[in-house]
Symmetry: C2
Subunit: 202 residues, 2 copies
DNA sequence: GTATAAGACATACGCTGCGTATGTTACCGA
DNA sequence: TCGGTAACATACGCAGCGTATGTCTTATAC
């Protein structure tokens, strides 16, 4: 059976995907400012014209890369979270999966280090509200609703939890390969303890 | 008595200071990328030549602004912390003073939002290790030494505390003037609770 | 007191890299 | 088979950084 797409459309999508992949590599290794569209295009044996045909701007190209990475990260975290029995366990499972994702150099560099720079804090927050932050806020809300965590301002708790994940992500993306496991354990431990500070005391 | 400086040196320092002030305003309102050296110089009725005479690069100019702000912030935090009786109270006093500083739009925007962009994460961390992060780590260490906080990895705890202050700083620098007080209270509360999660349980 | 050196800028230039405007070619539909 | 349009390539303009060079004024040496 046919894909329903014409030959030309298939080729077009292929170059778009290749562009995205090349851009991901460049952004992850050289950062946003350090990669020129000229080079990205050259990686594909194309010119900047191709880039501007598929993406309206350099920022837009970056956002496409970003969204791709975030979508996958959220998916994995959700999948892990679903295996938990209660809200607390679900949150911890999701946290663990997320830390694993952050240990990936590409994700860590692009999402946590370059993204705010590339698209500005405002836009970054807008997108994160749909992705990572949104997920966290749901976990926090579930924890509050189930009575496991005190009724403190959900937004504030979520922001702080979010920032800690960011710190963990940064540390993980910078850590040497051999240290990643240890660093991850340390962050998981301390974050777990800090979150425990929010639980209701009997 | 004379300052020991020649007339010319005084004028030179005056323009340098004026440049720094103009740059601070521009960076705080328009960001690093949004301010051109042309405009900064024009604010002083000078040209870019003056800027490049006093500072080797745009980044260097930004770093000068940054260091000025950070030095003052650290000073205020230390001053507040010194008024505490025990390590825990000292940490909370310092935290409070720091949140107040973060509520300042200039400090918040330049240090927390623009700085990582302007000088890159690596350089930003290098400098923060000397300023804010260094202060935090000392507080954490004091808390551990005094037995108030568990012997978890100090570096990790400090990084996480640091990231929370960052989040608070961001939130404060973005909050509307009327909300700043409420936002600050919320963050102080939740951060306090999270840190409490690290205390030794009897 | 004058000459010379040096400091404090101004002016001029080149370069990179983004965005846009304008081709050019190949495919698809009628 | 013949426009039309999608998918690029080429060419251009422009902002803004950094640098090289020029100019004027103040300090210093004699």
């Amino acid at each position: 059976m046919s894909t329903g797409k014409s030959r030309r459309d298939q080729f077009s999508e292929a170059t778009r995907a290749a562009l995205l992949e090349a851009a991901t590599r460049r952004f992850a290794t050289l950062g946003f400012g350090g990669t020129s569209l000229e080079d990205v295009a050259a990686d594909i044996q194309a010119t900047r014209g191709a880039v501007y045909h598929h993406f309206p701007s350099k920022k837009a190209l970056f956002e496409a890369v970003f969204e791709e990475l975030e979508t996958e990260a959220v998916r994995q975290s959700a999948e892990a979270g679903d295996r938990g029995e209660d809200p607390w366990q679900r949150a911890l499972f999701a946290l663990d999966a997320f830390l694993t994702t952050c240990a990936d150099p590409v994700y860590g560099r692009v999402v946590w280090q370059e993204a705010p720079i590339a698209m500005g804090w405002v836009r970054w927050e807008e997108l994160e509200n749909k992705f990572a932050f949104g997920v966290i806020e749901e976990h926090v809300r579930a924890l509050v609703e189930s009575g496991l965590v005190e009724r403190l301002p959900v937004e504030t708790m979520s922001r702080l939890a979010f920032s800690m994940l960011g710190a963990a992500g940064q540390a993980l993306s910078r850590a040497a390969e051999a240290d990643k496991a240890r660093v991850k354990d340390e962050y998981r431990l301390v974050i777990g303890r800090m979150l425990a500070g929010l639980t209701v005391r009997k």
